[in-house]
């Protein structure tokens, strides 16, 4: 559909430039250039503020992030995820169709960003949704993690096990 729309756009563009002699020669007006330059400045500042906030709120020595990804994701319709760290509930997320599609296409969601002390911790994730037979499905996965002075990244992966025709929930600690 999109490419059709685009063709329509090109048609319109063409109609306009064949019917308006000066249209194609028109240079980018000053205001448009100002807008472009301003956008770049805002994007740059936004990036700097993002880094500042992360440094300030989540310093590397305590920073802990949890990500969620899906590999195919056909055997499990994810509804929600709950994250507990050392028995405390730190995150709950209910998924929209748009988010599920983004995950299925290879996007990785940052599910949690927080701070934890150095040492050993227990992370428990509960996944709720519908399994292969479209029946209610709740699974949990537990991982022991060791927090050092470096930022810690844990990826929760929902993987389709095609041999068993069952979803699998795995974890990976990123260096």
């Amino acid at each position: 559909m999109l490419h059709k729309n685009f063709k329509y756009l090109t048609t319109i563009l063409l109609i306009m430039f064949v019917s308006t002699a000066t249209f194609a020669e028109e240079k980018s007006p000053v205001l448009e250039k100002q807008v472009q330059s301003l956008k770049k400045e805002v994007l740059e500042l936004n990036k700097e503020l993002f880094i500042l906030e992360e440094d300030l709120l989540f310093p590397a020595n305590t920073q802990f992030s949890i990500f969620l990804s899906m590999d195919i994701g056909n055997l499990f319709d994810l509804d929600s995820v709950q994250i507990n760290i050392d028995g405390d509930n730190v995150s709950n997320h209910l998924y929209t169709l748009r988010e599920i599609n983004a995950l299925k296409r290879g996007g990785v969601q940052k599910l949690y960003l927080g701070n934890i002390a150095s040492g050993e911790h227990e992370l428990v994730a509960f996944f709720t949704g519908k399994g292969p037979s479209k029946r209610h499905y709740k699974r949990g996965t537990t991982i022991k993690i060791e927090k050092t002075s470096a930022p810690l990244f844990v990826e929760l992966k929902i993987i389709d096990n095609l041999t068993k025709q069952q979803p699998e929930f795995k974890t990976k600690v990123w260096e």
Partner: protein, 633 residues
């Protein structure tokens, strides 16, 4: 529901084509870097601002290398979305210069070509697009050929354009649009036969697709008016009658049919479609034109009374329309259009939501439909929406600063409090005495081992027994000359021997037990030492969590304040630009109707004169309504 800008939906497409081409070709992705995966997650949800932020932050902190050039391609596409052509161009050029694979080079050239094409730099676009070799997907290749064809048309190189169009045979949709473009271009260049031949291929297209139906209508209008200009009204009617009766071009088709009959001097027949248009909304320019064409034709037919009546109708309708336009102009000046265009909810994918919603409720909007559909207006409007979002984003950051300062203050206060109580804490010195005691113990254990000092590892009971045996020994020594204690002496030696046997045989396990306990002590001391060291390090590091940030935060706040002022100023300029374009468009319409009104009034006066003073009237050269029969007027 009429979606806003339904006719062209241009800007959403301008903005998204580059990144969508990226998404189509790269889906699904194998994510080897979480940061890239996160950028994709937002990108797929059309949250382009977050996506570009993720990529820019990653690039600044530690560039993503595990995904090869994917992050760069995505970032390039996102720069294009935000119209940052120079940054996008830098990325794509860099990819080309890095001597990457042919596939990457092709994609980079394709994007550069498309970017230049969108910037109306057609010659430069062609130079980039011809560098693409053979690795593009079939869909992208069709798009490339279409762009190439259009750049050739721009240069009136019809042979080259036709060669590109021939490459689109496998893509009927692209082919139709390309043929239309070329057909119209040929006709405008005076090559009527070649142009009409191409347009004829679309004229009778059978399709259920609404967009293609719209293209077919456009084609038939183009052909119909082209034949009117060539004085071939019968042929013209054939095409104009193919236009759907309920569609955006139906009024123009009816008007054209009238003119085609008029050209054949079939005046009564000409009146039929025009009279039909009389009941249509006067806002349509084709209807406005027909209002004047009716009395003019009636006058030609000699039906002067009817002509007088219809001139009066036309004058009334034009007056009403002029009044409506006056209200609209006043409303635009009062900011009503901007209010209608300003989104009620400012979200990250503001563009997508804005272009899906209905036309804004504004009295000027119905008159501005043509303007709203213009690509250059949509660029201004997209910039406006971008600015509104950026302004909101900056304001959100602005609100954070007070929390940051408070956080720093609290951290500093907490640190000082902790430091005071830590200094007082005697437990911090305990570790040193514990270590000394441990060292002494370790030395003793070492000596026991070296000297095989079995008594040192005796139990308390054994030590008691040894003590008792020593006392007995002393007593026996005092009685050593008395033979009657020989048995006691033997018993003493036996007990002492048994005790020494027990202790000495158990020496090794006892030694290892002690050694093991010493190791455990070492571990415990080690942990305590580490904690102490960590505490000392934290004491050193803690001030970094507040002292270094103050200046950083202040600098950013200053920069943000400057940018906020700038955004506000440029947003206002953008609003003025929107208002100016709207007012220009409304004024143009106003003058056009004013012109019709003047002509109708003049014709009415002239006809009255002719009817009342028949002998004196001579036909003026400007009798015919100056109807422009060119398509698109």
């Amino acid at each position: 529901m009429i979606p806003l800008f339904k006719q062209s939906i241009a800007i959403v497409l301008i903005a998204s084509v580059a990144i969508n081409s990226f998404a189509e070709e790269r889906d699904p992705h194998e994510v080897k870097d979480l940061r890239y995966g996160e950028a994709l997650y937002h990108f797929y949800q059309e949250q382009y601002f977050t996506s570009i932020t993720n990529l820019m932050v990653a690039k600044e902190r530690n560039p993503i290398t595990a995904q090869e050039i994917d992050p760069e391609l995505l970032l390039g596409g996102l720069y294009l979305y935000y119209s940052l052509h120079q940054d996008a161009s830098n990325i794509f050029t860099d990819l080309i210069e890095k001597n990457t694979s042919e596939e990457i080079q092709d994609r980079a050239w394709f994007n550069i070509g498309k970017m230049r094409y969108q910037g109306h730099l057609f010659n430069e676009a062609k130079q980039a697009l011809v560098k693409v070799k053979e690795s593009l997907s079939t869909e992208r290749e069709a798009e490339r050929q279409n762009m190439l064809a259009n750049t050739y048309l721009k240069q009136k190189d019809f042979t080259a354009a036709y060669e590109s169009i021939k490459q689109l045979d496998a893509h009927p949709d692209w082919l139709m649009y390309a043929q239309y473009n070329m057909g119209v271009s040929l006709i405008k260049s005076g090559k009527n036969r070649e142009g009409t031949d191409l347009l004829n291929k679309i004229s009778s297209l059978k399709t259920d697709d609404d967009e293609l139906k719209a293209l077919r209508d456009k084609t038939n209008i183009a052909l119909g008016y082209a034949y009117i200009r060539q004085n071939l009204p019968k042929v013209s009617t054939k095409y104009l009658q193919k236009v759907r009766l309920k569609g955006p071009l139906s009024a123009k088709a009816l008007l054209g049919i009238g003119w085609a009959y008029q050209q054949q001097n079939l005046l009564e027949k000409a009146l039929v479609p025009w009279m039909e248009l009389r009941d249509w909304p006067v806002i349509d320019t084709a209807v406005q034109e027909s209002l004047l064409a009716i009395p003019y034709t009636l006058e030609q037919m000699g039906k002067n009374q009817l002509a007088l009546m219809n001139y009066n109708y036309a004058i009334d309708d034009y007056k009403k329309e002029l009044t409506n336009l006056k209200y609209s102009i006043r409303a635009v000046k009062a900011g009503e259009l901007l209010l209608a265009l300003r989104p009620a909810i400012v979200t990250e994918n503001i563009l997508a939501t804005e272009y899906k919603k209905e036309l804004p409720k504004s009295i000027s909007v119905p008159y501005l439909r043509y303007l709203l559909n213009k690509v250059d207006f949509q660029i201004i409007h997209k910039n406006y929406l971008d600015l509104i979002y950026l302004q909101k984003n900056l304001s959100k950051w602005k609100q954070q600063f007070s929390a940051y300062y408070l956080m720093l203050k609290e951290r500093a206060a907490y640190y000082q409090k902790q430091q005071r109580s830590t200094k007082k804490d005697s437990r911090l010195n305990l570790i040193i005495s514990l270590k000394n005691r441990r060292d002494k113990l370790a030395l003793k254990v070492q000596q026991i081992k070296q000297q095989q000092d079995i008594y040192a590892l005796a139990t308390e009971d054994e030590k008691g027994l040894i003590s008792n045996l020593n006392k007995i020994k002393k007593s026996l020594q005092r009685l050593k000359n008395k033979n009657e204690y020989t048995e006691e002496n033997e018993k003493y030696n036996l007990f002492r021997g048994l005790l020494l046997w027990d202790i000495s045989t158990d020496f090794t396990p006892r030694y290892w037990k002690v050694k093991n306990e010493l190791n455990q002590l070492d571990k415990a001391l080690n942990i305590s030492t580490k904690r102490l060291s960590s505490l000392k390090q934290s004491t050193i590091n803690a001030p970094l969590s507040f002292s270094g940030y103050k200046k950083r935060i202040r600098d950013k706040e200053k920069k943000l304040d400057q940018l906020l002022k700038k955004v506000t100023y440029i947003t206002r300029s953008q609003e003025k630009q929107i208002e100016k374009q709207a007012l220009d468009s409304l004024q143009q319409r106003y003058h056009q109707i004013e012109n019709y009104h003047t002509r109708a009034s003049y014709s009415l006066a002239r006809l009255y004169d002719r009817l009342t003073l028949p002998a004196k009237i001579t036909k003026t050269p400007d009798q015919q309504p100056n109807i422009d029969k060119r398509e698109g007027k």
